[in-house]
Symmetry: C2
């Protein structure tokens, strides 16, 4: 497996060590990896395309916030391949310098999405002001390096451990059913996806009644399971959309005929990648093909 | 029409006077309106539900960034009705105090999404640092009231005019094909949508192969035009999705049989509203039924 190869796998993430992307990388590749922290997702994709990183870890959807906008477009635009998926539970901790007590905390910093997901906690603590920063783990790193004007950060237990901080309160997120799904991307397609292959596709349908219905029929008529369908605007073509679909199967096997038919019905059909379905958390179908 | 009634219509927006939501409100209801600026979308919906505002103006999608996440869920959760739609071109201006010249500007503030959409401009001006604030118009208001530590704001021409600022450079956005679509929402359903009715729906399909395909078949088989299909996660049910669909037609007329069939195939079918299709910008179909 990849986790045993030498030298350690180099993995680009958006954000800092201790971020949920870092946790996703460890979940897929084990703890023995070299991180390439990137400030933006564009920088992350660049690190992969230029081969400064063997893999990039890209969040694609969250069970509360929905699509991580632009990242599926990014996979397509940078012509990288999705080679693995994983899911991470977003367990948010209020983290401070050792010895700090809850009642003394006046300001707590994190990524805006994380702050939003601690709405109930902030309502219970009106004395505490949320402060938006660019990264969950970065809020804790800056706190511990003395480069921060706030009293606490909100991030993962991993970040607290890495930067030598202390957890003041665990699980301050509103909703425990908070998971983020990640793709690992690479310049090369994945190897054998094993017994439960999943494939991510992108396609554009013609502007005529019934065209999306017909495109989905290529899966439905064969009993292929569509686990996700998402639409994204096409840049420069206002009010036109590209569909991103996840289906169970492998284009080199059971999906071959499906894809051939889809290419006849839809434009710009791309396979983003085929990878083993992540077994960590039971996944329901959208109900679909 | 609504623009002539007395007293003036009260309209809740997220953000400040001069925001693109304000422009959307003027486009739909004319300049004679009373704004209820709201810091968050939840506060906006609250203003409508509590009848402090007759209407709320809610951005639902942008042609570059995609879905304005959570706002369709908000329409559903707050049981308000979509009674109108409109589209606004996002024309971003660099705005400063009168007399300020471009070469003297070191920091420019705006909403993070607006900053992102001026990527090329900031690359051309490496001496200028982007500063994230909560609102485009708010960046200009705070600049002019002296409550800001930055040199310029980025927002609409309307905001520049309202706050007595000066436009230093127009159209600094990367992409001119940058439009945002808004819903006007109300506690009461809309009146007669006229000759081009459009309807927004939400539904959940069962977890079985072919169920989404069958649901879309209710439109396809009748030649009903689906202009938009979006999926959103269902809170508390990880990896399950609700679909939001826009279709041409009226549930009180040509869509009646469609909806009856859909209710037999899908769960939680809701009509968000029926409204006149906005004619301002030619809209393509997703290609669909």
């Amino acid at each position: 497996m990849e986790r045993n190869r030498q030298p350690p796998l180099t993995v680009a993430i958006q954000g800092e060590p201790g971020s949920f992307s870092h946790m996703a990388a460890e979940q897929l590749f084990g703890p023995d990896l070299r991180l390439v922290p990137s400030r933006t997702f564009d920088a992350l994709f660049e690190a992969v395309v230029s081969r400064r990183a063997d893999r990039g870890l890209v969040p694609v959807e969250n069970t509360l916030a929905g699509s991580v906008q632009g990242n599926l477009d990014g996979v397509l635009r940078h012509s990288v391949h999705a080679v693995a998926e994983t899911r991470v539970r977003i367990r948010l901790c209020l983290v401070a310098r050792p010895g700090m007590v809850l009642s003394a905390i006046r300001t707590a910093a994190s990524h805006p999405v994380a702050l939003q997901q601690c709405h109930t906690f902030f309502r219970r603590h009106p004395e505490m002001e949320p402060v938006a920063v660019y990264d969950t783990a970065g809020s804790i790193r800056d706190l511990m390096s003395g480069n921060a004007s706030y009293d606490a950060g909100i991030g993962s237990e991993l970040a607290s451990r890495i930067y030598g901080a202390e957890i003041v309160q665990e699980e301050i997120e509103d909703d425990r059913e908070n998971y983020t799904r990640f793709f690992a991307v690479s310049t090369e397609p994945g190897s054998d996806p094993g017994p439960r292959p999943k494939t991510s596709l992108a396609f554009v349908v013609a502007h005529e009644p019934g065209s999306l219905h017909r495109a989905l029929g290529t899966f439905a008529h064969r009993g292929v399971d569509l686990t996700k369908l998402e639409s994204r605007p096409i840049s420069g073509r206002p009010w036109e959309y590209r569909f991103f679909a996840d289906v169970r199967g492998d284009p080199r096997g059971d999906l071959a005929a499906c894809l051939e038919e889809l290419r006849g019905l839809a434009a710009e059909v791309h396979v983003l990648g085929t990878y083993p379905e992540w077994p960590g958390l039971a996944e329901s179908s959208t109900g679909d093909t």
